[in-house]
């Protein structure tokens, strides 16, 4: 008898919770902190939501976790920036319809007094080895995010294995990592979107800003979750969003997004 009541109570409370958060036209998107921190999504999504009456819930996290969430079917669509991981994700059958969305680039930022003696003509590999050989503090995202994967690629390409107390692995989002970099007068790798949005809140300066090196190129893709693997995901509304994001009209909107007159993302 008691058990019956408990079951009833449980059912009622679950229904109540369900009624709070359930509406038919809602999709969940996992994306990188850079698209969120840069303010792009706050600018873009309301336009979409108004037009299509589909609400988009955003989970801003690293690319690594976004892919894991997608693998488990916890989200309907992802925007990420780690091409090698994305290919893996699609090849293993979890993701479908991967489309390039936009791109920008990575910068290195650091303290004004330039403790690593970086000059403007330095290649990114040179800068990394200057920092490592002089043991100047460097803050690593260390969270499997796209930025972290890119950072590891650069260390690898420079044949360096960073370790020691100067190499600090914080495991946090880009915004927090910039804060820590500022406080500890260190260097870090940052995507230009987050940097333009947050640079006024730090005393850091950009020490590497180069369009010619391929390695600091930062491409973003939008990927849908395979409905065959996860039938409960909202494939149709997610596809509408994906199509809208990559449409010519939206590309224009993305290109128009600027902070202090500077364009943050370039649509493909």
């Amino acid at each position: 008898m008691l058990f019956k009541y408990i079951k009833l109570l449980l059912a009622i409370s679950l229904l109540t919770i369900h009624s709070v958060s359930s509406a038919s036209n809602k999709i969940t998107m996992a994306t990188t902190t850079s698209t969120e921190n840069s303010g792009l999504l706050d600018y873009l999504l309301p336009i979409f939501e108004q037009h299509y009456h589909i609400q988009v819930k955003v989970i801003a996290t690293g690319t690594g976790r976004a892919l894991k969430l997608a693998e488990k079917g916890d989200v309907d669509i992802i925007i990420v920036h780690a091409p090698s991981k994305e290919k893996q994700f699609v090849e293993s059958g979890y993701g479908i319809e991967r489309k390039s969305l936009m791109y920008n680039k990575f910068l290195i930022v650091g303290p004004k007094h330039n403790p690593a003696n970086i000059v403007t003509t330095d290649k990114i590999g040179t800068i990394f080895s200057k920092i490592a050989s002089q043991k100047i503090p460097f803050i690593s995202r260390a969270d499997n995010s796209g930025t972290h994967i890119k950072e590891q690629d650069i260390w690898n390409s420079a044949n360096l294995k960073p370790h020691g107390s100067w190499y600090k692995q914080v495991g946090q989002g880009m915004g927090k990592t910039l804060q820590i970099t500022d406080e500890l007068t260190a260097y870090t790798l940052v995507d230009i979107g987050t940097w333009l949005k947050l640079k006024d809140k730090t005393s850091l300066i950009s020490v590497y800003d180069n369009d010619s090196e391929v390695i600091t190129f930062n491409p973003y893709s939008v990927i849908l979750i395979n409905p065959e693997k996860h039938p409960h995901t909202h494939y149709k509304p997610a596809k509408i969003l994906s199509n809208w994001l990559t449409s010519t009209a939206t590309k224009k909107i993305i290109n128009q997004y600027k902070i202090n007159g500077q364009q943050l993302f370039f649509a493909n």
């Binding site: 693998e71 969270d143 499997n144 692995q169 914080v170 946090q172 927090k176 820590i180 406080e183």
Partner: protein, 232 residues
Amino acid sequence: MSDNLWTMVLNALFFLFSGDKALWEIIIVSLRVSLFAILISAPIAFLLAFLLSNYHWRFKKIALSITHTLVAVPAVVVGLVIYLLLSKYGILGDLYWLFSQKAMILGQILLAFPIILNVSYSGLNSISKQAEETAITFGANRWQVALILMFECRFTLITAITMAFGRIIAEVGSAMMIGGNILHHTRSITTAIALETSKGEFSQAIALGIVLVVLALTLNFSIIFFNKKTNL
């Protein structure tokens, strides 16, 4: 995909009992920071509790309501305050303590102190005056009286410490904000759980979660144990 719940828990247990270096390093950071915070805050809190319970002064009621309020202050607010103080642009910025274990200890002291003070105050306050009077009759001075009274309600004081320890070791808000979750330096059990979960690496998070739950159970059982002692 190998990560169903069962294999993750098995992995977690393997992590724990194989003495995984990275994992135990994190546990040691947590224990170290919390123990230091208790070591620093407990004696001061005990002394203040003794003074509050044995001497009457004008602002006693106000002081008591302030400490009661402080118990309820959320850890993130403590984190925010310490952050602003220790930041490069803050009053104590020249110490360069932000994102170090020192900063974490400072934050935890602020969290532990009001709990220890409150619990030990109510303990010292409820103790019968008889012990105090006996001690004075035997010629004890003020310090000796304090020590005797604290010894009389030692189980309450231990409970106070246990409760405070339970709060600060399980706390993630301020540890993340002012510790910075730096590997080998300020990554504690709770901030590591937050990080590993956000990376989708659940095994380590589960292992650390088990450690925290076991700690919490042990602490709570010892509180029950000491409470029984007090009631005898």
